[in-house]
Amino acid sequence: MPGFHRGDYLLALPMMLLTLFALGVLLIDLLLDRSSKVINAWAAFAGLAFSAAAVHNIQRAFADQAARGEPSSPFFAFSGTLMVDRFAVFFFYLFLAAAAITILMSVRYLEVEDEHHGEYYALILFSVVGMMCMAAGNDLILLFIGLELMAVSTYILVGFLRRDRRSNEAALKYLLLGAFSSGIFAYGLSLLYGLAGSTNLQQISMALGNAMAPGKARVVPAVALVTTAAGLFFKIAAVPFHQWAPDAYEGAPTSITGFMSVAGKASAWALLLRIFLFALGPMRPLYVPILVFVAIATMTGGNLAALTQSNVKRLFAYSSIAHVGYIMLGLIAGTAFLPNPDGIRGILVYLLVYTFMNLGVFGVIASLRRRDIIGDELDDLNGLFFKAPTEAVLMLTFLLSLAGIPPLAGFYGKYFIFLALIESGHYALATLAVIYVAVSAYYYLRVANAMFMRTAGDRVPVTISPGMWAGLAITGAATVVIGIYPEPFLRMVNWSMHVAQNPTVAQLLR
């Protein structure tokens, strides 16, 4: 293969800019005294803005393609290692938005925790770079590097509260289990490489297509599938690979819990979709039964465990596990060989709306962190409506949206996924899922009850920094606006589904 072209670097520009700014933050942090650490946040914010501009540049190239009347085809870079298609662009924007909102919500929280360091912002930027590689990787090596970059940054962020034992414990658990699962995942990837003789996703897909031909022994493909899937299930925190999530979510700084639960999850889903739809596409008849089992276990485990939690962060950790179960149904929907387009659309819509509503939830919880008050027990929310009515109403909005009550954003994710299930005849799964949605209403209501119907336990006022206000305003507005007028957002998702290069994927994602 010849050397790299200028165009290659333009496609990688979003990641390169983020890396540069991350390194810059690390440098300027040395020059800043304790009182002016907020400049780090501004610098990181600027990095995200520049990166978004670079993504916009790529998006314009797709627009030019469409204007010339050409069918949408992805851009390849670095000898086919990096593949930027509309699907990747969608996720780029999603990660950048999640990181930006997280930074808005972090500043005061870190000050209260007395851990305001530049590394925090640099690590967020690095993890976004990793996520982008996961979303745009077309090669097992790049995907794995992206995954590890994201994971290692997150391990550190989870343990960022050095003097907090819960944070340390969470980071260690997460690190050990994460390393273990990465090992299994890498083992699966190595088998895929052995089968295909290539790390390229298209090559793997073709090789697996041959391996799945009738009459051939399927042992090695099956082992490769199971190990790869296990690694991915760990990353999205699906039952029975979810044990790390409640501990990591509880111990991590609240702002990072929010970030992990949306951006981390979305990137793991991007990776999972890349692998399951692109590389493992021909193995769909094998993996759907596994997904059905895991989805049912995930919805059951997540929802039932959430019912009894008394710590809000743990409660939302289990709630996010339950949501993974619903999202997985979107991949199950379809025939034996092809997923249902509404199901894939549902996954993307779900990840989009989940980003806003769950970040909002953790924003509100983070704002409850005051001097001497941890603020993450359910009882700390008691009477919030009387202390801080706006926040309580926002929280109620997020909760109802998570519970899938229309006309809030969360409804549409569930809507498309259930619709896809019904379209493809999975009535039993659809019914089970809606019953679990109703169960989830119960634990969301517990939080709402505490805020609205109980009296406050402490009198310490809840103060909200301008950054937090901005973060809550964005997430709240998005939750309501997507709910009432989802049209532009659905158009964006439809736009991102034009990924027409892999023949099997092209067939289904028109």
């Binding site: 109703a438 009850n449 119907m453």
Partner: protein, 508 residues
């Protein structure tokens, strides 16, 4: 004003009023109350004048008024709202009861007044929306939207076990309505539309679906959501808790309007969309309705608490409505719709009366009272009058509805009529016995000695209700003339010819 925009105006006027109300300064509680009263009275006149608008014939078949705009293109969701003779009166009932709720909450709500009236206004918009929505998605949206303000009204302003009651109310309804959601999604997946006016013809032209297994499951999906709301025995257990713990205004709207969402849904969607399945399942549904009539009455009789008694009487009265709908007779179904309105007026009034007593004594226990008629003659007169209307005394509203329902039930199957009619006797028993214990006899409790009689504000609340009970009793044709055409339209797919022969009021 274009003539059709009136539906949207009536639907969203309370919400707009509520948003303005939020802008009023904190502490200006009287201003909040006056504004809420102004908005709800305005809403009442806006809603009521539709019935008298020229150029719209609610006494003819077809949708009398509609608005239909695209809202979301994928999925194809339309803002499609329709008024016909059934929904019109339910909307007016909602608009009629809400100002009275504002009046009775004038003093009894003194904390967080602004939030209370805001929730009340939001609830009014959601309730109105349920009755006018013709796009199933829009319907589901309003249906779920009623839950939140109602649950908050119970949970924030209720009595002792309010949180328990609020959660129970929310969960029962939320769990049941997800089955409706699955059914709605199934219909969308097969028809490509949420619009009632698209789905209904589609089902008519696909008898293998409507009359087959799919039709049965879809019917049951809708049915369970509505049955919990009505509530049909044995799904009624949330109702007494919610009623007893709710503030008076909450109880009034709960009994007066929210329960009607269930019966309205049964008639409009369960019977309207799946007549074959409804016909096939009518047997056990009628049995449950009759069990509800008798069981509700018997349980009401032994209640020591006034409010619980009224709550269980609702279970009994709503049994009549369900029985009327599932007899598929012109008389029975029209009577069921009429009984929905009656029950809103009578039971709404009873909850208001009970709430007034609670404001004075802070108890609902029947044994705490006795001989009140001599202390509070005006109040007692209203109470007895409303009681008589509730038990169906001829010339008052309850009689017309029960008579029509029972005549329909006899036509369908005599045993339904016989058992249903026993409910009329039971209701006389428990209501009159309660009145006797509370208002007559000797007052042994010194706490009752100084109770003030109804105040001017309270009389202002009770007069419209009493007047309505009388007018609806002596001139039912005002209502029935516009209720009959849509009822006939729904029944023409489901009822055998013999059931249509008798038309309420002798009109054809």
């Amino acid at each position: 004003m274009t003539p059709t925009a009136i539906i949207s105006i009536v639907t969203f006027l309370p919400l707009a009023g509520g948003i303005i109300l939020l802008a009023l300064p904190r502490g200006a509680e009287n201003a909040v109350r006056r504004w809420a009263l102004f908005v709800t009275v305005l809403e009442f006149f806006a809603a009521a004048h539709i019935a008298f608008m020229p150029g719209h014939h609610f006494s003819m078949s077809g949708w009398a008024m509609e608005e239909n705009y695209a809202w979301i293109s994928t999925p194809a969701i339309r803002y499609h709202v329709v008024l016909d003779g059934i929904s019109l009166w339910l909307v007016i009932l909602t608009a009629f009861l809400t100002p009275l709720c504002v009046l009775i909450s004038w003093r009894s709500v003194h904390d967080r007044v602004k939030e209370f009236f805001f929730l009340l206004l939001v609830l009014e918009t959601a309730l109105t929306g349920v009755f006018v929505a013709f796009d199933l998605f829009l319907f589901y949206f309003f249906w779920e939207a009623t839950l939140i303000p109602m649950a908050l009204l119970i949970g924030m302003y209720g009595h002792g076990r309010r949180i328990y009651a609020s959660v129970k109310f929310f969960l029962y309804t939320a769990v049941a309505s997800v089955f409706m959601l699955v059914a709605i999604l199934w219909l969308y997946a097969h028809t490509g539309s949420f619009d009632f006016t698209v789905i209904q013809p589609w089902l008519r032209s696909h008898p293998e679906v409507a009359a087959g297994n799919a039709g049965l499951w879809l019917f049951l999906g809708f049915f369970i959501a509505f049955a919990v709301k009505v509530p049909i025995f044995p799904l009624h257990t949330w109702l007494p808790d919610a009623h007893v713990e709710a503030p008076t205004a909450g109880s009034v709207l709960l009994a007066g309007v929210l329960l009607k969402m269930g019966t309205y849904g049964l008639l409009r969607f369960c019977v309207g969309l799946f007549p074959e399945a409804a016909r096939a399942q009518a047997g056990w549904i009628n049995v449950l309705a009759i069990i509800g009539i008798i069981y509700g009455a018997l349980v009401a009789m032994v209640q020591p608490s006034l409010k619980k008694l009224v709550a269980y009487s609702s279970v009994s009265h709503l049994g009549f409505v369900v029985l009327g709908i599932f007899t598929f007779t012109a008389a029975g179904t029209a009577g069921a719709v009429y009984q929905m309105l009656n029950h809103g007026v009578s039971t709404g009034a009873l909850f208001i009366l009970v709430g007034m007593l609670y404001e004075r004594r802070h108890t609902f226990e029947i044994s705490e009272f006795g001989g009140l008629a001599s202390r509070m003659p005006v109040y007692a007169a209203f109470f007895v009058f409303i009681t008589l209307s509730s038990i169906g005394l001829p010339l008052l509203n309850g009689f017309v509805g029960e008579f029509l329902v029972l005549s329909g039930a006899f036509r369908d199957r005599a045993i339904y009529g016989i058992l249903g009619a026993s409910g009329v006797i039971w209701s006389a028993c428990y209501m009159l016995w309660m009145v006797q214990r509370v208002f007559y006899g000797e007052n042994r409790n010194p706490a009752n000695a100084l109770l003030p009689d109804a105040s001017a504000r309270e009389k202002l609340t009770l007069w419209p209700l009493s007047a309505m009970a009388l007018i609806m009793g002596v001139a039912p044709m005002i209502w029935l003339s516009s209720i009959n055409p849509p009822v006939e339209q729904i029944l023409k797919n489901v009822a055998p010819a013999s059931h249509m022969a008798y038309v309420a009021g002798g009109q054809k």
